[in-house]
């Protein structure tokens, strides 16, 4: 039993749903529409800059990761995905450092794709690292060195900032050059996608073989030999030999790809840094010849200065699931999604239905909080050697969150504003600065699908009655 809770504890840890884990635990409906909209806009717009706006725990990271894995996107884009919080110093990064990080990531992406780095890029790399042009280190090594120093070496950062502060255009030029090179590369290789399968059918390929090849769908092979060997391993030598001309004719795909830079966890940086990047240097990204998506904190969207930024970015919102609507009616669809997310990570026999319902209720529709609650519940179940997560454990879990809120919430400054929100469910009833504070720290959650239907409520743990 402890083992089951132990596994569940780790499954409920906060991590983006990528790769195999993503496939296992991802619930299709989470941020589905937002991902679809972002995909559509990315595909249709040239060098569009998008902000994925949301509150902590609403699922921005998951949505961005899903987006980066969307086939429509990967088929047509070189996706460069990185976390701003991992790449930059979260406490005192400058906008130019983000530029350098993007540049470094592009260099790394080119190297991964075996694309030659231009000489001037190498020169700049060597120059930045103070290694000199005659260095024996490779571009990769130099890029890694810069990455590490940008994250950890304040002096290095200071020098870079000093050097590039007034030369943003230079950096912009370098990035755009790399993007141009990267996107100019014709992407070619063997890949069996849906269209290819259709062509195979047209060529009278047997259904048996088609079903066997289903497992290789969308996998890409640069080398003909590897491609054919992989097929041979599945359908056998004879059949491979028989269909070889068909495979080679239809599975070869050639296409040009744009660069899509996805920067996650911008909201993990210190708020002042994010404000500086987007409000003071709002035009910085405009000239970059790449499509970009940023994770962006909702509280900054409510900032008065955001109106100046609006024209430079397209906004996409990822809001918490509305477990209940503004008048308090429960929404079955959201409840099912959240329940599914829980039961994908834990055996249904290990948690009571009541406990699930209560946790969903107090999560306020924030998937991040729900995962946190569940992880805490699993931990308590392990500690208590409990057979099932019941209401007793859940009560302690909720109390933990309530206590945390109690310790950090500024009652003197914001209690009134919060009460007003609870009562009115509208933001217009309180001062904007109060709203920014409350949204920024997750004390108030923003719900709704469109600007007309937005409503607000306090995090349930602020109003949850311990007795009930």
């Amino acid at each position: 039993m402890v083992k089951a809770f132990y596994d569940a504890y780790h499954r409920f840890a906060r991590f983006p749903l990528i790769g195999g884990i993503g496939e296992t635990f991802y619930v299709q409906n989470i941020a589905k529409e937002a991902v679809q909209r972002m995909t559509k806009s990315i595909v249709s717009e040239r060098f569009g800059k998008t902000l994925a706006i949301g509150q902590s725990g609403a699922g921005i990271s998951t949505a961005l990761h899903r987006l980066a894995q969307e086939q429509t996107i990967t088929d047509t884009h070189h996706v460069i995905f990185f976390s701003a919080a991992d790449a930059l110093s979260v406490t005192d990064a400058e906008p130019i450092e983000l530029f350098i990080v993007i540049w470094i990531k592009l260099i790394c992406a080119m190297q991964e794709r075996n694309i030659e780095i231009p000489a001037k890029t190498f020169d700049l790399l060597a120059n930045i690292t103070s290694e000199g042009i005659n260095t024996k280190k490779t571009e990769t090594e130099l890029a890694r060195m810069i990455s590490l120093k940008i994250k950890t070496d304040p002096e290095f950062r200071h020098n870079i900032v000093k050097r590039f502060m007034i030369k943003t255009e230079t950096m912009e030029e370098h990035i755009s050059d790399l993007c141009w090179i990267l996107s100019g590369q014709v992407h070619a290789g063997y890949r069996m996608n849906e269209a290819v399968f259709k062509k195979f059918q047209d060529e009278d390929m047997s259904q048996n073989i088609l079903s066997k090849l289903e497992g290789l769908k969308d996998q890409e092979y640069k080398s003909e030999l590897t491609f054919l060997r992989t097929i041979e391993g599945i359908i056998g030598e004879l059949q491979t030999l028989h269909y070889k001309p068909v495979f080679l004719k239809h599975a070869w795909v050639e296409e040009k790809k744009d660069v899509l830079i996805v920067i996650d966890e911008m909201n993990h940086l210190k708020r002042e840094i994010t404000e500086k990047i987007f409000f003071e240097k709002k035009t910085m990204f405009h000239g970059l010849e790449a499509k970009m998506i940023f994770a962006f904190p909702l509280s900054l969207w409510h900032h008065p200065a955001f109106s100046d930024v609006l024209s430079y970015f397209r906004c996409e919102f990822i809001r918490p699931l509305s477990v209940y609507d503004a008048v308090g009616n429960y929404r079955g669809e959201s409840l099912n999604i959240m329940k599914e997310a829980i039961l994908k990570r834990i055996e249904p026999s290990l948690i009571s239905d009541d406990a699930i319902a209560t946790l969903i209720d107090v999560s306020g529709g924030l998937m991040g909080d729900l995962m946190g609650f569940m992880q805490n519940a699993c931990l308590r179940a392990i500690e208590k050697k409990a057979a099932i997560i019941g209401n007793d454990i859940i009560a302690e879990v909720i109390d933990d969150k309530i206590d945390a809120f109690a310790r950090v919430f500024d009652f003197a400054g914001y209690e009134n504003a919060l009460r007003t929100i609870i009562r009115s469910k509208k933001k217009a009833t309180i001062h904007n600065k109060d709203l920014i504070y409350l949204l920024n720290y997750g004390f108030v959650l923003e719900y709704g699908d469109s600007p007309d239907t937005l409503w607000y409520d306090a995090h349930p743990c602020l109003i949850f009655d311990r007795k009930s």
Binding site: H268, G372, E383, A406, R407, D465
Partner: protein
Amino acid sequence: MNISQLAEDSRFRLLKTELEISRDAIFMAIYRDESVKEAVIGELKKAVPSCEHLLPAENISALIAQYRPEHPTVFWVSPEAEKDVFSSFSEVYHGKVSVYDFSGVSEEIRQVRRGTLISEGLPGAVIEKFSKYLEKAVWQYEQTEAYYIPSYFTNRKGKTFALDDLVRVFLADTGNTNLLLVLGSSNSGKTRFLSHCFAALSRQFLKDSDKERIPVFISLEAYSGNPDMEKIVLKEFQTTYDVEISEEAFRESCRKGKFAFLLDGFDQMTAKMNVAQISDIMKTIYRLSFEEGSGHPLLNKVIMTCKPHYIFNDIQGEKPSSEDYTPLYREYAPKRNVEAVCINPKILDEARLKEYVLKTIRDGIAARNILSLLHDDYILKEISEPSLFQNMLIQTMPIFQDKKEINAADVYRAYTDIWINCEDFRCQLSAEKRKLLVWEAARNQIPGESEDLRFCPFLRYDEKGKYKFTHNSFLAYFLAQQYFERIKHKQERLFPAADLNNETVFFLKLIISSAKAELKGLDLSELNLENANLYKAELSGANLNKTNLKSAELMGAALQDADLSGANMTKARLTRANFQNADLAGTNLSKARLRDADLRTARLNGANFHSADLTGAKLTGAKLTFTGLDEADLTRADLSGAVLTDSDLTGAKLCQANLNKADLTGVNLTDADLTDADLVEAILSEADLRKAKLVMTNLTWAKLNEADMSEADMSRCRLREADLTECNFHQTLLNQADLRWAKIDRARFRGAKLREAHFTGASMVETILNDADLSWANMSSAILKKADLTGAVLNVAKLNEADLSGAILVGADLTWTDLSKADLSGADLSSANLSESDLSEAKLNGAKLSKANLIGAKIENTKFDGADIAGAIFKEKAT
């Protein structure tokens, strides 16, 4: 914290478990106590050696935000540092750090916040409705509510505090006291205090509807039949606040302490209930402030007003035993969360008292009356006591809101009625029986033992075991009250009015004054109603025989058919009083003010109106024979047809009075002022009008034969066709008087001034006009047969066609006189001055003109047959 304690600590066990199962997580342990930190670290190091413990001193938030652990790491930080991490890197705090609180901060906040961190409250729409109503209520309170006097209470140690302060503490107290019982006797200001609280709480709520409780004021009197407080509140929400909320929502809000209930008049609600029912309803009230069953005090507050005896024993003269305590006291007083205080009687200084009266009684006249009562030395010193009376008045003042006239008896009645009309569980007797009981006490008869007397505030139980009035004024008041009640019910009086003492008379007077609308036909004879206020009193048909109404205020009083014979109404104010058919025979009305009074058909003979003000009084047809009206002011009075024979009107003012057809035979009008009075057809035969002022008086057709008007001023007086036979006009001023066709035979005008007087056609046979000034008088066609005009001045007078036969005009001044066609036959004009006179066609047959001056006289066709013109001068002698 020792090891065994640690092992029991759930936080420690949980952290230990998480450290054991996590791979590379970051933990934040909050601590304040170094020993706790040391103990926990020590134990964790033993249990999880791979775990790292860091105690950063500075840049804690940046360090935690950037930290990439390779194995589980616990950062030991202060509560302040935790806040710093949260505010700087909330994403990290929420998503990447597990927090364990060893500081005790969480428990502290739990204690303060209890149930929820932020109470959810009622829906916005409901709050809006409450706000809307409360806004209106505050406005109304400010517009209409009377002046608020701070109430005080005295605690068990004898210290006095303001009730407002207690309420402030009570409302701020979040756990100890939730039910405050404000006790006070009737009119002690409970409702006003509660209204004041309600307005104050409403203002606070409107200022901050999130934080403050919703004040709910309920007057319990309206719900006397309802035993369930919850239902009452919901009904009140529905009817008053227009708020519909379910029972569940209400209970939920109650549980969260959203309300401050202000319940007024528990005693009124339960007046007709028995003790068991009262106890039941009290339970439901108690539940409004507490969670049923759990015993946990919550945040709702209830302030309820009630009379003290519901809680405290108020039996007099006995040391209360435990059995004497009320069931409510026994049940609720020991409870920690119930507080009961008694409002102290209000004692105010003069300035505050005045302010209180002016604010409480909005009507200016009423307020002035009350203030005059409070400054009435007689009441305060002779009848009552300043503190007693002031206290009674403050207690009863709200009753007098709409009453314009308030007197001391009203105050006593209102105060004593509180006990008499009291209806609650203690009462055994009816109000009527209780009243009879105190009446008996007033008559010095020891009343029968009654439980009800034990809580009577104006009776005390003396050391001899007898009930006595706490102050003698109560005795006088009750005596007067029952004396009047007997009069009212036409029963035999307790004793003759003369035996009433001053205090009783004082109250009786006031009681009658208060009941002035109901005095019709009552026997008030011989009572002393001096100075009584009987303004507009209904006294028609009343017996006021020999009643002392001296200086009484009877303005506009209805006294028709009343018997006022022998009454003393000296200086009484009787303006516009109605005396129709009243009997005022022998009534003393000297100096009384009877302006515009209606005395028509009243019996006034023998009445004394000396110096009375009868301006505009209606005396049509009044019988005033032998009435003393000397010096009376009858200006504009209507005395038409009145019979004033032989009455005394010496010095009376009758200007513009209507004496049309009045009978004034033999009346004494010496020095009276009859200017512009109407005496048409009046009978003034033998009247004494000496020195009277009759300027412009209308005496047309009046009968003035034998009247004496010597020295009177009758200028411009209208005496047309009047009968002035044998009147005496000695030295009377009759300039410009109208005496046309008047009958003036044998009248005497010696020395009278008759300049420009009009005598056309007047009959003046044998009239004596010697030395009278008749210059410019018009006497054409007048009959002056045998009139004596010796020495009279008749220059420029018109005597044309006058009959002056046999008249004596010796030495008369007839210069420029028109004597044309006059009959002067046989007249004696010797020594008369007829120069420039017109004697054309005059008859001077047999006239004596010896030494008469006829120079310039017009003597065309004049007949001088037989005239004696010896010595007469017709022409001026040539010089």
